[in-house]
């Protein structure tokens, strides 16, 4: 229906078939966005630091949970650490056996007070042990989406 088309019946003006394109954008908050953008663009971790309390927040936070001061000290932290604990997942969400078990680990980072729960790969489940040194493997630059999944997994150093 063009603008010059003459409307002869009210229904003509009320019917429109087609798709309306819309876009939405999800953000993980100010600190979270900066953390994920750094991973996406540079393949490295950022943390915030409270110098007074000597705490390095990774994933970063905007406020110190001890002294409540605003944190604007951002530092790069190494993407390596050690396995604090791990699990070998045998079943998928539908309780069906996985073709290959997957390892999930809680990795505490060397340069920060905190860690991440993520996959562990390039190792057999029976060879994993608590305290094992690991590093993050990032996805190829053009595959990164700006989320926690831009880390493909951790692997033994």
């Amino acid at each position: 229906m063009s603008l010059l088309h003459r409307i002869e019946h009210p229904d003509d003006a009320l019917n429109w078939h087609g798709d309306m394109p819309t876009e939405g954008r999800y953000t993980a908050g100010i600190a979270g966005e900066r953390f994920f953008r750094e991973i996406k663009e540079k393949g490295q971790f950022l943390a915030t630091v409270c110098l007074d309390c000597d705490i390095t927040y990774m994933p970063p936070r905007l406020y110190c949970e001890e002294c409540f001061s605003h944190l604007d000290e951002w530092v790069e932290v190494g993407s390596w650490g050690h396995v604090h604990t791990f699990t070998v997942v045998h079943r998928d969400l539908d309780n069906e056996p996985l073709s290959e078990p997957r390892i999930l680990a809680f990795v505490t980072l060397d340069d920060a007070d905190g860690g991440l729960v993520h996959y562990l790969d390039e190792i057999e489940p029976e060879d994993v042990y608590l305290g094992m040194r690991v590093e993050a493997v990032f996805r190829a630059e053009d595959e990164r989406q700006g989320s926690i999944s831009d880390i493909e997994y951790f692997r033994p150093v």
Binding site: F106, D113, I148, I151
Partner: protein
């Protein structure tokens, strides 16, 4: 402006009313494919109101976690009030993940204690089996940190498995050492007509169960299921039914912790549960040794061990030893999951916290049948949301 700590709290406590649980009701826990969410809630509400001998209420609080995601239905307050014949009263839903049920009880307590309502009905209801397993598990994972934990596939099974492995490593336990929690829960469920799993489990069966996420196997875990439970709260001064033991809410307390497990200084310490328990003990003026039974949140066996420690019944690393020493049975030092717990009664998430209160009331009234804890006078219920991020504790006492 006065700082909150300068406010005279003593004056504030004086105006708080004592609160009693005057009625309880529950539906069987299971897979209720033939019953809708509103009908489940209605059954529990009617049973509790009949038990209390009331036909009206001032407010209705509905504990529920997943109705929007799994049933496409939110706005449960008005819905349940409408279908339970309570149309017109104050009503809304309260959500705190798996702690939603006790959170709703907490709000009911606040309303009655603060003289905002005289009779409050609290119902916890959850329907989890109308959807396929992956959808239900993914919905449950919404209680974890969406950006950092759940986005790449960590679920509550895997998060608890991480804690369990660390616990075994740090304190030197084997997987089979966790068996007493499952064995005890299933044993107690045998005598609970409302329980989902009414069959015994042996240590051997526990050890041989299907592995899900090492070291957690099927018998470490509570089931996905449907159910509803309800309580009626009223001022203690108006709750003297001569035919029944009166049960007073001695304390109602909440504690919180980081949402994500990776943000905790020591993941094996449930700091939120410690806070919640301490606040409850202070509120009731009791110590752990005074508690005659403890309905704890055994979503996984590791949670049972960590809860016992956080609530002060065992030192760190000794919660499991308490179970191994045979102290968690009906005649033990601290009986837990006396009607089957989350493991065997079942864990319809948003309803669980209310089931726990119902069961403590049964014990304190001396109506727990075969599972009656001898001389039970003070009982505690603790409901946990997420991996310990929200913890609601209630202490109930014979009055």
């Amino acid at each position: 402006m006065r700082h909150p700590s300068e406010v005279d709290c003593a004056a504030a406590t004086e105006i708080m009313r004592e609160v009693a649980v005057i009625g309880v009701g529950q539906t069987a826990v299971g897979e209720h494919w033939g019953i809708s969410l509103r009908h489940l809630a209605l059954e529990a509400v009617q049973a509790a109101m009949a038990d209390a001998g009331v036909v009206r209420a001032d407010a209705l609080y509905v504990g529920n976690m997943l109705s929007g995601e799994l049933e496409g239905q939110e706005h449960l307050g008005a819905l349940v009030a409408d279908f339970a014949g309570l149309r017109g009263i104050e009503a809304f839903k309260i959500e705190a993940a798996c702690g939603s049920g006790a959170a709703a009880v907490r709000m009911g307590y606040v309303a009655v204690a603060g003289e905002l309502a005289d009779i409050v009905v609290v119902v916890g209801v959850e329907k989890m089996t109308d959807t396929l397993g992956p959808d239900t598990t993914a919905a449950l994972a919404m209680a974890a940190d969406a950006d950092y934990e759940a986005a790449h596939g960590a679920s509550f099974v895997t998060l608890n498995a991480l804690l369990m492995r660390r616990y075994m490593h740090q304190y030197g336990y084997a997987h089979q050492d966790f068996a007493p929690f499952a064995v005890n829960a299933h044993q107690n469920a045998l005598n609970n007509p409302y329980a989902m799993f009414r069959f015994p489990v042996s240590c051997e069966k526990f050890s041989r169960a299907r592995m899900i996420s090492e070291p957690i196997n099927l018998l470490d875990s509570s089931p996905i299921c449907d159910g509803a439970a309800a309580v009626v709260l009223a001022p203690l001064c108006e709750a003297r039914d001569p035919s029944m033991t009166t049960v007073r809410v001695a304390a109602s307390a909440v504690g919180t912790d980081t949402l994500a497990v990776h943000d905790r200084k020591d993941p094996l310490v449930l700091a939120g549960a410690e806070l919640s328990s301490q606040r409850a003990y202070e509120g009731a003026g009791v110590r752990p040794a005074d508690i005659d039974l403890f309905e704890l949140h055994d979503a996984f066996t590791i949670m049972a061990a960590l809860s016992l420690e956080a609530a002060g019944f065992a030192d760190r690393g000794r919660g499991l030893a308490l179970a191994l020493d045979g102290e968690i049975g009906i005649n033990g030092r601290i009986p837990v999951t006396t009607m089957g717990g989350l493991k065997a009664r079942g864990h319809p998430v948003g309803a669980t916290g209310v089931y726990q209160i119902v069961e403590v009331v049964q014990q304190l009234r001396g109506l727990a049948g075969e599972n009656q804890v001898p001389n039970a006078r003070i009982g505690m219920a603790q409901n946990i949301g997420g991996s310990g991020a929200t913890v609601i504790t209630h202490i109930l006492e014979q009055s």
